[in-house]
Symmetry: C2
Subunit: 471 residues, 2 copies
């Protein structure tokens, strides 16, 4: 059985086709690897140069100072089968093929792609691609990719202080979109483990990586960008395994429309299939589909931040200092399939004593600006959490100013510790940096999209499904 | 007829209820006014203080050094009718009432609100509110509001260089959401003219302001946040007038769900009504409904940036350096009701000579990273624009790096000048600041939401409707 561990966690990496021209892709990939503090060895392999970007280069993978764990292939398509075979014979057990020009290009390319698949099987190699954009193992600081997102100028790849304890991995047939999801998540202070671009999937498929990462145990939420599912049986087995493990899989399906499906065929030669059949398959195995890149990230944030306190039902309590913004959130909840029930009398009484007469405790609870100025947000959220009619709480804040949150911080921290119900924060204005800091420090993610804030709640009970629940 | 010009463009403003306590709303409003360079005179009116925030204060509006054009009322609800009557008798022709505690609070409050309406009529005053959060006239640097968004620390209220030539005005029954839309739009470099919070609308309604601003001629796109439409006849007359003037009205309807409608009743005492009946009314008059705050802004950006080159049809050409991101955009177009047709042979031939064999010219045009490195984006967009099958072009870019855009800038500027078809830019990664600068300088907005990038296109022909088109 091919060992994906050799691919994602190599101690030594050969870059076959490396170049000193950092304007081109063959130069960019080595530059990107070298710009991150990867602790293993990196060997440029070049037929024409003895030195590449200041590193000694080797003419072939079979005369490296050691047997490389992983070969990165970025040579013209027609040379790929030969080079991969050379790797296999040398005993290299993993390869990532970034070259394009295979099944996406027509019949001749398709035959070369079949050769890749045969060679991988023959040598029992873990082979990803071709037509991949590479991958990144964040913990290992290993980034064999030409994605501009992993450029050292694009920002740090690990947050100074991560939100929540969990990690996200991205697996994408499209390298551009996979790395884009990571890039868009960066300002949200989330910890990522792997970003893998699987390209045309001649050998390893997206769900092989999910399977490996489930065993590896370092990924808590999976974000997948899929043009197709090549082997449905593999999908079913791995999706069920993820469900049992309580690890959500969130999918952005690429090629939902006819025009999109047509483009997918020429992109990675995938058959996008009918939207309805994919949706049915995803639904059955609890795979969550998202329609926007940022929705995928909001869903992941919801799961990571909730941790082990997922809502047990879909009844949401809302508290707000802005009446209108509270209504907007109530509409967003209902649009997402959640409920916003009128609160019970006991809870209402406990809230009414704190708010002026022009506020309301019905739900949404309009604490009014005056109520929040006096008591802060945490007190109201805590009163809401006491209601037996409520499974989760959404706090509608304006995080433009941080002053009230700053004062409220100790109470917010207590609230996080003392309630088992999940608490979400949505800001209708843009937040100041300090507001984000305060809320993250207290363990709360801050959402700026109302839909994004609530969209994962409806999947709350999903990771708790057992096999018996699969229809 | 009450003169809204006195309300929005006063030369002198009385702040009735002004206080030196800037922690409270009565102090914050004066502080916010004074922190912006308003050229008119501001008179604090206080029953208890002779000086407020370093300004001489007056005990009553009828003994000011001059007749004020506008009175801002922020006194407890029960004093509002008396103070408003005093303003009317003194000859003040406009008032903005920020006090809460009227119809949203019950019957007694409702009676006081009726009194406001009677007093406004009696003295022919332009009265907005009660329960308003105030307004901002950006050109006049006049911000009588306690919204934290207009706080001087929240950032400049005018962009250093505005995108496009047009201006946006926001009119909102909810002050929180109205100012939040402005706040969220701020990083997009858009020019705003007015932000008005109309609250409970005892006298002036949202569409009275639209009516005035249509005559004023300084607003090109209207963003409205509505809990209800109090006088349908007024809505119909003004919406039709906007349609004839070619000025789009984009609405965020607050209280679409049952829970939301219940909350609206207690917020501004509005009757949210059925979602279906509002949608029918909006559709008939070409009013565009948006579901997310950021979608409202994306729609406005689309209209402003297109200016007089709105698409004449719904056939979109897409060019991209990332196959997957191109497919994502094709799916977004189709989801928004647009078409992504296969290109004509002549256009395909003109493109094929520039792209490697693993790219495609079908549409989406996958120029491949290699194609874009060689020629930039503008050349491909220009070739697409020549196609008779295409009404608008979406360019899918990764704006993470600005290097290619920098080189492409002269061609992008030419393209903007030389084609009448609208060209939209979507980045699937987050953009660098420099990328945004370059594209804005060339006259292109850069969208980060795929749906947001295309959603206004389907309304392309709408502002060209004539009265005859209204069913």
């Amino acid at each position: 059985m091919a060992d994906i561990g050799k691919l994602l966690w190599p101690q030594s990496v050969a870059v076959v086709g490396a170049s000193s021209d950092v304007q081109g892709l063959r130069g960019r990939i080595l530059q990107t690897i070298l710009s991150h503090p990867f602790a293993g060895r990196v060997y440029p392999v070049s037929r024409s140069a003895t030195e590449v970007q200041g590193q000694k280069a080797y003419p072939s993978v079979d005369i490296l100072p050691e047997l490389a764990d992983l070969a990165i292939l970025i040579v013209p398509a027609q040379y790929v089968p030969t080079e991969l075979e050379r790797c296999g014979r040398a005993g290299i057990k993993a390869a990532m093929i970034l070259s394009s020009g295979f099944a996406e290009e027509g019949e001749a390319g398709g035959r070369m792609q079949d050769e890749i698949s045969v060679i991988a099987r023959r040598h029992d190699m873990a082979v990803s691609g071709p037509n991949s954009e590479g991958f990144a193992n964040i913990a290992a600081s290993l980034c064999p990719t030409f994605s501009p997102v992993m450029d050292k100028n694009a920002g740090p790849i690990k947050p100074a202080q991560a939100l929540g304890a969990g990690q996200i991995s991205v697996i994408s047939q499209s390298g551009g979109l996979g790395f884009a999801v990571f890039d868009r998540a960066r300002p949200r202070n989330l910890a990522f483990q792997h970003i893998v671009s699987t390209g045309n999937e001649a050998a390893l498929e997206a769900f092989d990586f999910v399977d490996y990462m489930l065993d590896e145990g370092m990924t808590d939420v999976f974000l997948l960008l899929l043009e197709d599912v090549k082997t449905p049986e593999r999908f079913k087995r791995v999706a069920e395994k993820a469900l049992h493990a309580g690890k959500p899989i969130i999918v952005g399906k690429i090629g939902r429309s006819e025009a999109g499906a047509r483009a997918v065929a020429s992109h990675t030669a995938a058959l996008a299939g009918s939207e309805a059949s994919y949706r049915a398959m995803f639904d059955r195995y609890g795979v969550i589909e998202a329609r926007e890149l940022d929705d995928m990230i909001d869903l992941a944030v919801g799961f990571l931040a909730c941790g082990d306190r997922m809502p047990v039902g879909k009844r949401i309590g809302i508290c707000t200092a802005s009446g209108g913004a509270g209504v907007w959130m109530a509409d967003a909840c209902v649009a997402a399939g959640l409920e916003v029930p009128v609160l019970d009398e006991a809870t209402r009484k406990s809230i009414d004593v704190h708010i002026p007469s022009y506020g309301t405790s019905q739900n949404p609870v309009d604490c009014t600006a005056q109520g929040v100025h006096k008591l802060g947000y945490a007190t109201f959220a805590n009163l809401l959490a006491q209601s037996p009619l409520i499974d989760g709480i959404t706090v509608v804040v304006t995080a433009r100013r941080s002053a009230f949150l700053e004062i409220d911080l100790p109470k917010l921290e207590d609230l996080k510790k003392n309630t088992r119900k999940p608490i979400y924060m949505w800001t209708y204005t843009l937040p100041s940096d300090r507001s984000v800091e305060i809320l993250n420090a207290a363990g709360y993610p801050l959402f700026t999209s109302a839909f994004g804030c609530v969209c994962h709640t409806r999947h709350g009970r999903l990771p708790r499904f057992t096999g018996a629940d699969i229809k």
